[in-house]
Amino acid sequence: MLLDVKNLAVSYGKNKTPTISGVNFELDEGKILAIVGESGSGKTTVIRAILNVLPGGGYVSEGKIIFNGRDLSELDADSWRSLRGKDISMIFQDSGAMMNPVHTIGKQFVEYIQTHSDLDKKSAYDMAVEKLELMNLPNPENILKSYTFELSGGMRQRVGIAMAITFQPKLLLADEPTSALDVTTQAQIVGELMFITRGTGAAMIIVTHNLGVASYLSDNLIVMSQGKIVEAGATDDVVKNPRHNYTKSLLASVPEMGRRRYV
């Protein structure tokens, strides 16, 4: 087992009821877990807790996260630095927003590679080009010369994914990696994520609002509502035989071609 999340609770600020609680799940090497559910239910919070990057005021108030046999709460800052971005890496909702707008993408990508490896500048640059190509980005060299604001949302997202997969992480945490992408690019990237995880044996947790993508990609599915897991199981089972009312209503809201129109 690669990851074991035990009775996790996270709170923001002091003396408040936890935002998420009683979150339990396991993840094996090479498996893909999708988390779907209500907006604001705590999906991003779960992912951020695993990577120990909860935003200001957020902290794990209960429970344990075991990664590769190690209790993550016991890691010191140095261990986190070598783990984060390498063994576990993250694809954000908007990767562009995570990057610095005043430096070129190339400068940041090369620095990122050099922080986590002994490569010289030239080799790091070549590696960046290669990863961008893997994400089907046209003119990688041009992209490395650009600033985030010069790229469209979709292009920025692909740069973020290219960075996250640079070191073939054991665990990839993806927070709505395709929400900002058009359907053809989404299909390519979903294919790419599948290829990367299946090819390298990496496991992935993907948070998505697209239940079609979740059904296509994932082995297991977790449905969250109001800070709790309301349903979990093999993806096919949950999608075909939802038990919880929230899951049922979620599935009923999925837009599908040919469903009743709003107008």
């Binding site: 923001y12 779907v36 559910g37 209500e38 907006s39 604001g40 239910s41 991003t44 935003p55 200001g56 909702q93 908007d94 927003a97 089907n136 046209p138 003119n139 041009n142 010369k145 790229l151 469209s152 949302g153 979709g154 292009m155 997202q157 692909r158 709505e176 929400s179 900002a180 992408l181 058009d182 359907v183 053809t184 690019t185 989404q186 299909a187 390519q188 294919g191 609002h209 697209n210 239940l211 079609g212 993508v213 059904s215 296509y216 096919d236 999608v239 209503s249 979620l250 599935l251 809201s253 999925v254 837009p255 599908e256 071609m257 040919g258 469903r259 009743r260 129109r261 709003y262 107008v263």
Partner: protein, 319 residues
Amino acid sequence: MSEVIMRVENLTKKFPVSDGKFLTACDDITFDVVKGETVGIVGESGCGKTTLLKAIMNMQKPTSGKIIFHGEDITQLTGEAKRQNYRRIQMIFQDPTAAFNPKMKIRDIICEPLLNFDLIAKSEVDAKARELLTQVDLPADFVERYPHNMSGGQRQRVAIARALALEPEVIACDEATSALDVSVQDTIIKLLVKLQREKGITYIFICHDLALVSMFSHKIAVMYLGNIMEKIDGDKLSGARHPYTHALLKAVFSTEREKNQYIEILPGEIPSPLDVPSGCPFRNRCTYCQEICTTQKPPFEEIENNHFVACHYPLNKAH
């Protein structure tokens, strides 16, 4: 009868890039928007959708072309006339985080446009913000929050509430619901439709979810590399005839695994907008490409009533 509220006429936007070259983000785009209707715009990342909206919003001057709104070319407006025009056309951005001042509370973020146009007094701000939050299904006490203390979907709903505040005639949505879970999305779409019926609001709705677009739009425009390739009634999307639209339809994931086995990934790479192919912009990825496609750009023609296609060899029907 249907009244055209806005006409985009031969709109072109080029950005200068290094070595005196130009990047063509929108290439001679023409279409009408009917009052009280929704135009859905779909297309690959980088194809120029946001650039088109920014021109419509008068945030970025086009290189050439016009945007006729109430009989007036709004790209030529300046000063107070331009400012007043902002009131009538509002936009909900793809990324609300970038549009919000992180130091402002939600109450002030939502009511800022109302205060800018002197439409409410300071004393009314709190009540108005609460009312708007309730409209988008958020708890009223979120007025006290800051944008970073919310989830992505919650922030997006704040952006929607803020756009609704001015009761504009046109709302341009740039992937406004893609950060929401499908059940909240359903609520928001129903709200938008309700406001459309009551107030005759017109929407220009950029969205990647083809299924959602087909369920919500009166007209759908399909863009590729800065061009509109097909324009079709929303309820007739499955009768699309452009090879690119077919490729889009084949890339939609379903919750039914059986359907997902028919997913087809569009081969080839998106050409760079710096280097648009001669002839048909889609030709290097099109299975049906013929000689003529490489030299002659297909005209954007009405092949059936209200159905426009830019292709030398339109296909018969989808799937």
